[in-house]
Symmetry: D3
Subunit: 272 residues, 6 copies
């Protein structure tokens, strides 16, 4: 169950409205790596989890915070849009070049569809979608997805920080970036703990019997491009991170097999 309180975790008001920036901020609300994505992702991972206790609690604990971040950004965006202009004729633009820029830079649907409101979309107006969510049921894989989400999210928030000089907006971003720092660290700690405990190890999924894979291909770097530096990295020689092999390097595949003959389906599929 979720309970709502009409307060915010941190203040979320701009120094002054800025409809152009409102559009940009939609990215971290409704984009691939926005707050809706992490809120939903942690929620589905928790609801589907197979173990009671600390990992599930962690998912619920951070997940609920993220729903609050969705709210903070929505409220911030609504305030950034508060003075969004209605008149947007060419005459108005000719009279005021900045208005022209503003008009070009705002999300037109924020005005036409939402009447100067936030929306569950990204900065290009693409609606948020469920396929942004990863919840496989394997916690090591999923926590890696979570670490990635917090990294991508922090990169985006950091870029947005430098796209404005509004003190109020920057203040909120400073807060959200700090929380991304925390959550990055938490998922990385949980990734280490899963492995230290032996709950799940590399390669993921670790309970797939390793002899069911073609082990002769498991640690060989087959380079299908021609870059001369390809063999220099730690991924081309030495022990592998899963502790189960040694990397080797090969310049292209050693062997190959002929393509199977083309298929001949039922003639009533009317192929040629």
């Amino acid at each position: 169950m979720f309970f709502h309180k009409q307060e915010l975790q941190f203040k979320a008001s701009p120094s002054k409205p800025d409809a152009v920036y409102a559009r940009r901020l939609q990215e971290v609300l409704g984009g691939q790596y926005g707050e809706i994505s992490v809120a939903m992702q942690y929620g589905f991972q928790a609801w589907n989890s197979h173990k009671p206790g600390k990992y599930r609690d962690l998912l619920f604990g951070i997940g609920a915070e993220e729903f609050g971040h969705v709210e903070m950004l929505a409220i911030m965006i609504a305030q950034l849009l508060e003075k969004a202009p209605v008149e947007q004729s060419e005459a108005a633009m000719a009279a005021d070049p900045v208005l022209g820029a503003v008009i070009g830079g705002t999300d037109v649907q924020a005005a036409i569809v939402a009447g100067a409101g936030a929306r569950p979309v990204d900065s290009n107006g693409n609606p948020w979608q469920g396929s942004y969510v990863t919840a496989s049921g394997n916690l090591l894989a999923d926590f890696t997805a979570n670490a990635n989400a917090e990294m991508q999210g922090r990169v985006q928030a950091a870029r947005l920080f430098n796209m404005t000089d509004d003190k109020g907006v920057r203040d909120l971003l400073s807060f959200l970036i700090a929380r991304d720092t925390m959550h990055q660290n938490q998922w990385l700690a949980a990734i280490a703990e899963l492995q230290a405990e032996g709950t799940e190890t590399l390669p993921v999924p670790s309970n797939f019997p390793i002899n069911q894979e073609h082990r002769e291909f498991s640690y060989e770097y087959i380079n299908f491009s021609d870059g001369p530096a390809a063999a220099e990295g730690s991924w081309a020689a030495g022990p592998t991170p899963d502790g189960k092999g040694e990397f080797s390097y090969r310049d292209g595949p050693e062997t190959s097999v002929p393509m199977p003959p083309p298929t001949q389906p039922d003639s009533r599929f009317f192929g040629t």
Copy 2:
């Protein structure tokens, strides 16, 4: 530039056709974590990369292999569909319960749209989409996305392995799973190398000035749920993985701020 050779990296023929399984296998061809996703993801990361040398070579080298995996799966799926039935009337189903199951379990578009061919869609028929791709320009974030993709992909392939007993299909999956093992290991090695070199460190992005975030919130686990085990993990106390702080734990937020007042946009947005 890409050059194509009419050979395969590994044999990709089923022991016998199985249209129901063909649909399942579409997931690792055209799904969120299928081969099209990794091929495109590594490609865009390479094309956008800012450093010449080993990391870009690695992206190109694996990326080109993945395009070959796309091909292997497409060709396998076409063969699995080779005997897909055309007649699918209710009378036919009444006469043969297995046919009924087959009809229920196949992708109807494989027959109607592709004439028994593979398609760039997942196992539910959702078209592959560009928003599955992550390429932020930050290599530590992106390699974490890559490690996740290879983990999710290996989990899915392992599940698919147990959904069939066809020797030819299992043989291909054993090969692809081995390559997933390799690629998981490679991205994890590259993640370690980026940090060891100092090219990029935690928290990502590491060149965002850390004093621009509200550091008092950077290492505090604020639990917005009520799970009693929440505080037990290594993410609630002790040093943080980024080496820059100490985790602390708090049961809910210590402070909060009132919501800002509702916005009052131009009345010609006709809100209420």
Copy 3:
């Protein structure tokens, strides 16, 4: 069957071209609540309807008009785009700030993809999609969806009216807004008639046996937030609109149940 006549229901020509506005107008052509949506929605409701006579006739009668509205807007948009500029270099923009605004404000695909033509997309370029359509087979639910569509559509058209001062565009919008007024009124009249006749009543669907729902929860407002004014409305006390109960108010849930234990699926799903 549909018959087409090469005339329009109302004049649809702008006083002069305006490519920036053309993009805005796409919203009411190909957006969530644009003319394509209502034309298709009324069509599917009619084709699926279970009763001959007045309700189906109403759906066909308005639906066919809406296809004509699609046409009027497409033709208006093509004319607004008639002088859309081809050259759009930075040099050109530096020489003419208004051009810059124009370039920023136009739909780039109107030029590149359609050669200065209308498209089945919204004002952000999102393609129209079938999931905008509601046609459940329950007329009281569906007519409520229709009333909503005409309200949202009229709100958007009213906003667009104030975003231009072009006499021709405003004239068309004045016409379309009048038709929205009519259609709002018609669906509301039909909603009343369905109930007055007893064809369908509240709660929808009314032929679901009401004793199959947990009636103790059917009229209780359980407030999961902390707003002090929550209990002031007519939704918190007094008779309910369906005429079958009395509203009551509760500050949060009275009882709750523990979460069921986590699931334990087959280990070959390789969860953790």
Copy 4:
């Protein structure tokens, strides 16, 4: 801010697993009118609202409950999937016709992607999307959208009720259907209250100056189809629900205008 409690508003466990039904139940979790839709819709309407007090409190109060409904359905679906089969070979299907039906009827991604878990998708596997949300800033329009959502949702839940005989599932649906009854009634009460107060009246939006629409077309039913019963309804004669006119009926348009001539854009768009 949202706070999470690891309890449920009502019990949400099936009598026994049923993977086929799990897929069906996804519709009211992640479909167009599922719980994610209403949770998000009420959230965005609240965050964007322009008036403090009872209407915003109502949105927050119901919205937070809906997030809990999302959770209840996700947890129910995970339990329904708990015994989802891994082996799904044709041999297995031949041996057990029910298995064949099960395989045909389940969501293949629930197994391959989520390892027997719930997902933010509908019953056909289409990802939930932000374009299901309506939040225009006009409360009379938006509450009509909400009433529609609760009607459509209750219709779907009622259909699902009869698609199973599992006592646990039916019990949860009886609860959710009761809540839909409540929420339908609440939005209808709020719609009446908005008008009774004069906050917003018909036609929506009521603060658009009505003399800016072509009033001669505002109450005329122009029938573009040929149904003989078209003129029988209360929408064709008598006073209009907005109290501002009288319906009239016309069999097709009285007048029309010629199409404007085709457009002649810049020849460098390379049209013909």
Copy 5:
């Protein structure tokens, strides 16, 4: 303007209901090459056309017929769904294997969402989308798209013809296939006429000054694969269809250029 008549161009009733087939038939209603696609495509091409007269008349004339085909299929599908079962429990399936197959093969949303009605989706339940439409403003390109659409549509209808033995369904398909034959022929005739008149010639667009392309690459087949039969076709030697060159064949590119160095964007994008 469109006028609707409550009659059909051809009879559209099945001999008996068949919910499994109803799902299949959705492909030619709401799929990529279904009737909605051609109706909308011809409509947008007409509304955007730059020439009055025969070509525009052709687009309007066929386009309006296609809207009627949408209607015929929707009505056929509703009838095929008329006896769609409500009870779909596992017990019911165990008692009746055909029911199991039926359940596996039907579109679950046809029941849950539409109450046994047609929907604007394809046979996998993907909503129809505006990006299926092609309308570039260049008639030779667009009529080629139209010829393709009628070919793909006829291939699909022919496949569907053999998936049923219902006389009523086959009768309708025989009619629609005949119309596809006609429309294929019409677009091919129009393609020839455009060129014969010189309105538009090859390569499309013909009014792009041909000396602005690198003519040395305009007729050379550079084979990036290794198929030995690649050079045998009429596309590798002899005069080109545009009448402006001679095909030549080359086994891979003759020359290439080095990749440009990686980019170095502003460091505040926080790349690595």
Copy 6:
């Protein structure tokens, strides 16, 4: 198998960065008719093909080239974005009107999401999707789709050519346009060859028994609009392109049938 070489088929560097143009160029990279579309389309057609030899070789040979075009455009776009501005405040725009235009005209996600990189999206930021691909298994239909794709692609590239005066960009476009010329010609040659050989003829699919269609409707132009020039074209009289009939013209349908009565599904679908 695909092999990658770190060279380009043609030089792909702009004279100077231009972030506004970068967005435009995304259309021919990730749009409906961009290079990703043709690369994938030719790939899937090849993988699904039923005949060894020249047609399959042609698909592989061109397909692999197109993957290289994807790369060239991605690399060009990254360079165009190299100087994309980070600061984008309103103050900055007021000081520099061109900056305002730039900000309005760029793809905001290129900055926020990709850190000045190319993405698999079109010029409006819509992600590339698998439903852009056509691969039916019928080569005459599919090669017509390919000819259309190369025509649409060349039209778009020609439009883009005139939207810039950057010598480097124009040089690349001159190359790509030349290749479009070649590929248009090749698919048209292959279309002719398929028919000349008798591998596939008109109407497509030619192996559907023509007596299974209602031949009385196969060559009759039934004009559902009222354009007076409709009957003037070669599509209204004379021999048909398939060589199997004579066109005739009719002004609207000669006969029609009544609509079937509305359906009466199970009452537990709760329709009205």
